[in-house]
């Protein structure tokens, strides 16, 4: 069993006929992901990377038994495609694209919650379960199977941490990108709870960054509910006030959203703070994580 992706997972790719959609489908297949088809309205009946393309999600579900979907859909069409996917009965949705209006994200989030759908993003690299598969854009070669969970706001920093650990033969149980927008579809504490419950995970790393309050809320969850060791790294110590640091959600306003506020909350909750990513190796040794 893996977190979110397991032997029963059947993935469809929405926006499979686009340049990024088709390229990433190839990488997902090479990694061994059970991708069963794709959707692009108007291009049903064609074949991409050897997979059937459908006009609608409902049709894809009927023909392939799909139960998970990853989005490479242009931002303006994501809300529509999301509603369609939820209505078709898909219970796991990963939204890779960025620049989706916050108003749309708030609607998607409310709809997913009402319909019992687990959704990640927007602006997420997706999910990767080493040895099982990946939904999203994570470069597979950097990851290795093991027992550490990683949750990251940033895609590239999730690769950095996985890369540092894999190089020292410390594998990962699952790596999840929580999304880097001001509003995300599943909050950090809810993702943490998956790892806390997972028998294949011994410890968890949170990779956060400036802006918002997800890390502070995660600290409350750690203090109240978590038994597994947690390490946390927060990027953006030198971010100037009021500047968006590449992610829509990465902005410091006054005292809110600073690295200091997040670090203080996490440390008080009992998490090990990493001042620099490479310190994750010392943490792994100290906690006997292999």
């Amino acid at each position: 069993m893996g977190i979110l992706i397991d032997d029963a997972t059947r993935v469809i790719v929405q926006g499979i006929t686009g340049k990024i959609g088709s390229t990433q489908t190839r990488w997902m297949l090479r990694y061994g992901t059970p991708v069963v088809g794709g959707i692009t309205p108007g291009k049903g009946g064609t074949i991409v990377e050897g997979l059937p393309v459908f006009d609608s999600v409902a049709e894809a579900v009927k023909q392939t038994g799909a139960n998970a979907s990853v989005f490479f859909v242009p931002a303006a069409f994501v809300l529509d495609a999301f509603y369609e996917t939820v209505d078709a009965g898909i219970k796991l949705i990963v939204i890779v694209p960025e620049h989706i209006p916050v108003n749309d994200v708030m609607r998607m989030r409310a709809y997913a919650a009402a319909e019992g759908v687990f959704a990640l993003g927007p602006t997420t690299p997706g999910i990767l379960v080493p040895g099982k598969g990946k939904m999203g854009i994570m470069p597979g070669a950097l990851f290795a199977p093991g027992r550490v969970g990683i949750i990251s706001r940033s895609g590239t920093l999730s690769y950095e941490f996985a890369g540092i650990l894999s190089e020292k033969k410390i594998g990962q149980s699952a790596v999840i990108g929580m999304g880097a927008d001001p509003v995300i579809l599943t909050n950090l504490p809810d993702i943490l709870s998956l790892f806390e419950a997972d028998k294949g995970t011994d410890a968890v790393i949170i990779v956060g960054e400036v802006g918002g309050t997800q890390e502070e809320k995660a600290a409350e969850f750690i203090a109240e509910k978590m038994k597994k060791p947690v390490a946390a790294y927060i990027a953006g110590r030198l971010s100037p006030q009021g500047k968006r640091m590449g992610h829509a959600g990465a902005i410091v306003r006054g005292a809110a959203g600073t690295v200091a506020s997040k670090c203080e909350a996490l440390q008080t909750a009992g998490a090990t703070l990493l001042k620099s990513p490479i310190e994750v190796l010392d943490w792994a040794v100290n906690n006997d994580i292999r």
């Binding site: 620049h99 854009i137 890369g163 509003v183 030198l238 968006r244 590449g246 990465a250």
Partner: protein
């Protein structure tokens, strides 16, 4: 996109919120004409996109044309917190009885708009929220349901507002919410909403606005306003926007190019341990040969740059194509400062070959700290 105060007041006015008589002046002569139409005293307000403007001297009350000429002249030649003053808002002076704060923002954790009201208006709302949270009333609303006058009255009653004032303040708050939704704002604030000594304008005036529109929604909000790019004062940050990357000027002398926001921030922090980063630059997922060529050009615009550090991952990005752009720039411009690169992921070997052939110091280990240690060596930082 953060709007100027005068743009926000125009939005308030179209939403039916009472606003002062006012005009925007690009020079002292225009300011005199506007003030003549409004009648003295007037308030001159520097239109700069920065907080704490009043405390920095950007707001002046004048009672005569002579005073106006003197104050406007000084404001136009001044910088407010490092920003030039291009426009002044000339406003009627309100006869203030008391002030309220009304603000709406989006709470990332609940995914809902949060409406905040307080009797402690003015410049200290953030401080009030921190030290006296009971003086600040918050309400999380359901965006699917909307926000209604009865809810507004409930909130304002908790501030002790009663009778006729309760109804008219609630009306303003509901109108602010409607504008917030209509313009897809991330922030909409009236700070302060002034309760006047007289019944003029119904007794209320919104005398300052803070509105920030969701950048991702700009193409469907369709505001008749100058483009985002024209609001960026820093020429390097503006150039970054033009080529489609996020560039933040950090004032130091070590250039940074990264393929992700988190990685870019971590790189900035790690380099910042011993050296001063010149910039944060994040390409997002659109790397091409041309884009990285332009990124090199942009980073090299910084005067007295000592080195460049490139940190990229091949996930969604074709980093081998990007590497060609870097090397082409180095060759065409005969770049001699050290360039250190860490590039991992899809197509990494090809990327390393291309970069090495161009004279870039390539580090192949995963930790950024190891590559930054190489940078420290090359520039002699200890």
């Amino acid at each position: 996109m953060r709007l100027h105060e005068h743009e926000g007041l125009d939005i308030f006015e179209s939403a039916g919120i009472p606003v002062p008589r006012r005009g925007v002046a690009g020079n002292t002569d225009d300011a005199l004409i506007i003030a003549g139409e409004i009648g003295y005293p007037v308030v001159l307000k520097a239109q700069v996109l920065v907080g704490g403007r009043g405390l920095a001297g950007g707001i002046q009350t004048v009672t005569t044309p002579e005073e106006l000429e003197d104050a406007a002249g000084k404001l136009f030649s001044a910088e407010i917190k490092g920003l030039p003053v291009r426009k002044l808002l000339v406003c009627e002076k309100a006869d203030i009885h008391s002030e309220l704060y009304m603000g709406i923002t989006i709470d990332g954790f609940t995914g809902r708009p949060v409406i905040v009201v307080s009797k402690e208006g003015g410049v200290h709302i953030e401080e009030t929220a921190r030290i006296a949270p009971d003086k600040v009333i918050s309400f999380y609303c359901d965006p699917a349901f909307g926000f209604y006058p009865y809810q507004a009255r409930m909130l304002l009653r908790r501030l002790g507002i009663v009778e006729r004032l309760l109804a008219i303040c609630a009306d303003v708050l509901v109108r602010l919410y409607r504008a917030f939704v209509q313009y897809e704002a991330l922030i909409a604030e009236i700070n302060p909403l002034v309760i006047l000594k007289t019944g003029y304008q119904g007794g209320l005036l919104a005398i300052d606005s803070v509105i920030e529109i969701d950048n991702s929604a700009l193409n469907r909000v369709k505001l008749p306003l100058p483009e985002m790019i024209e609001r960026i004062e820093n020429p390097l940050e503006r150039k970054g926007r033009e080529i489609g990357v996020t560039y933040v000027d950090l004032g130091g002398d070590i250039g940074i190019i990264s393929s992700g926001a988190g990685l870019g921030m971590a790189t900035m922090d790690i380099i910042g341990e011993r050296l001063r980063p010149a910039n944060f630059l994040e390409t997002g997922g659109g790397i091409t040969e041309e884009l990285l060529y332009k990124c090199m050009e942009l980073v090299m615009m910084k005067i007295d740059l000592r080195a460049i550090f490139i940190n990229v991952y091949g996930g969604i990005n074709p980093i081998h194509e990007g590497a060609r752009g870097v090397v082409r720039y180095i060759k065409e411009h005969n770049v001699t400062i050290p360039i250190v690169a860490k590039a991992l992921g899809n197509h990494q070997e090809e990327t390393w070959e291309i970069l090495r052939a161009g004279g870039v110091h390539v580090v192949t280990e995963a930790p950024t700290e190891i590559a930054v240690a190489r940078l420290f060596e090359l520039v002699g930082a200890r």
